[in-house]
């Protein structure tokens, strides 16, 4: 039984069709998939050397991203967030929900942000704000280091001579 192994020329359907038409492959030897392929051809014909289309991939951004950026700048990350858990909203999600509720009362974005932040802080739904005067609230390396330095107590000086002379 004849076959064609030229995978770069046409596709499997065009090659088998050619073999059948020319008589190289007998109709009894028609592959099982041939009729199924004819009835349900793929949406895009497989072709080895097809040139890639000139499509630009657009970045995905949402209007809420601006609020999210401001939130994380102000309050920092709460640490671990489980992406698989859809039950409990994260502090940022709660903030966004409240932001949407209060949106109608304000025209200026900054004012609205401050107002929502105040409300949420009072409710203690968000962590305390990350500001430069409070280094121990931050999670960055620099802030952790400075907080460690400020917290570290002076080491007690041990006088070995005193230890050894006293009985």
């Amino acid at each position: 039984m004849a076959s064609s192994r030229l995978e770069r020329i046409g596709n499997i359907y065009s090659r088998v069709r050619g073999l059948l038409r020319s008589g190289a492959m007998k109709p009894e030897d028609k592959p099982i998939w041939y009729e199924v392929y004819e009835a349900f051809p793929p949406k895009v014909e497989p072709q080895y050397g097809r040139k890639a289309s000139e499509i630009t991939i657009h970045p995905i951004f949402y209007p809420e991203d601006i609020v999210r950026a401001k939130f994380y700048e102000r309050f920092g990350s709460p640490g671990l967030i489980s992406l698989a858990n859809n039950e409990y909203p994260t502090p940022c999600q709660k903030f966004l929900d409240r932001y949407k509720e209060m949106e109608k009362g304000f025209s200026d974005e900054n004012e609205l942000f401050e107002a929502v932040a105040k409300v949420m802080e009072e409710e203690k739904s968000v962590p305390e704000s990350v500001s430069s005067n409070q280094p121990d609230n931050g999670t960055s390396m620099a802030s952790m280091f400075s907080s460690a330095v400020s917290k570290s107590q002076p080491q007690p000086k041990i006088n070995v001579g005193d230890l050894l002379t006293e009985k």
Partner: protein, 258 residues
């Protein structure tokens, strides 16, 4: 011979279905000839019988569209692609966008192509074709092999010997029958190169269905499915869907009338 029609079927039960059960997918569309009464069968000519019961005439004879919803794809994290830098240019039409450098697949397109692939699989299973599940990712070997076992088909989830398809008679030392369909759960091997099965199946005129991630080339694959091929949840979902499509196809196989 009258077959019983199960109006509502559960998928756990379907795994243990033998050929005596038949599933009614869409009552309005499919007039399954075997569901007619015996005396009516005698009146209809044999050629007309074939006309009514030819599965190829129906757009979704096996009801594969009901096997999944787009939310199931989303929950299994199928829309996660790799990063911008590893994008294969041929995958651009299937990308929805890039979220801070991470590519996201367009699940509408994925769903459509997945339906086509599942429909094709069911038809091949209906016609008694041999289906081979192929994957080279060691993490998913067990998932793939189990799915093949449950479907009653074959799997090759280990290292691929180069001559399995192209020189099969030498490798297996005897007359061999090659698979009629190859389902690739991942088109890349652990060395991040195109899996040999893609090229070899195209050479041997075997149709392929493949999950193409954003770093894979879909050109040689007959029915590519753009989607994530790395998450265990995603691979589990694909395996379940293909296994279910195969079982659907087999369950509707025409029985011999004695």
């Amino acid at each position: 011979m009258i077959r019983t029609i199960a109006n509502r079927f559960k998928w756990n039960a379907a795994r243990y279905f033998t050929q005596t059960c038949s599933i009614n997918s869409d009552a309005s569309l499919c007039q399954n000839a075997a569901s007619l009464k015996v005396d009516q069968l005698a009146d209809i000519k044999e050629s007309e019988l074939k006309e009514i019961s030819d599965p190829l005439k129906f757009p979704d004879y096996f009801g594969v569209r009901k096997l999944f919803r787009i939310k199931d794809l989303f929950d299994a994290r199928i829309h996660y692609g790799h990063t911008n830098g590893t994008l294969d240019p041929n995958m651009k039409p299937y990308i929805f966008g890039s979220r801070l450098g991470h590519l996201i697949f367009d699940l509408d397109k994925t769903a459509e192509m997945l339906q086509d692939a599942l429909n094709f699989t069911a038809h091949i299973a209906y016609r008694g074709g041999i289906i081979l599940f192929v994957s080279h990712c060691p993490q998913h070997t067990l998932t793939v092999e189990n799915a093949a076992k449950q479907a009653g088909e074959y799997a090759h989830a280990r290292e691929w010997d180069f001559h399995i398809f192209t020189n099969s008679e030498k490798v297996y030392n005897g007359v061999t029958r090659l698979p009629d369909l190859v389902i690739l759960l991942s088109t890349l091997n652990p060395q991040m190169q195109e899996h040999t099965a893609v090229k070899d199946a195209a050479k041997m005129c075997i149709p392929t269905i493949g999950i193409v991630d954003s770093n894979s080339n879909p050109n040689l694959i007959t029915y590519p499915i753009p989607g994530n091929d790395d998450s265990p949840a995603a691979v589990q979902l694909y395996c379940n869907l293909f296994r279910d499509a195969i079982l659907l196809g087999k369950s509707k196989k025409p029985m011999e009338v004695y």
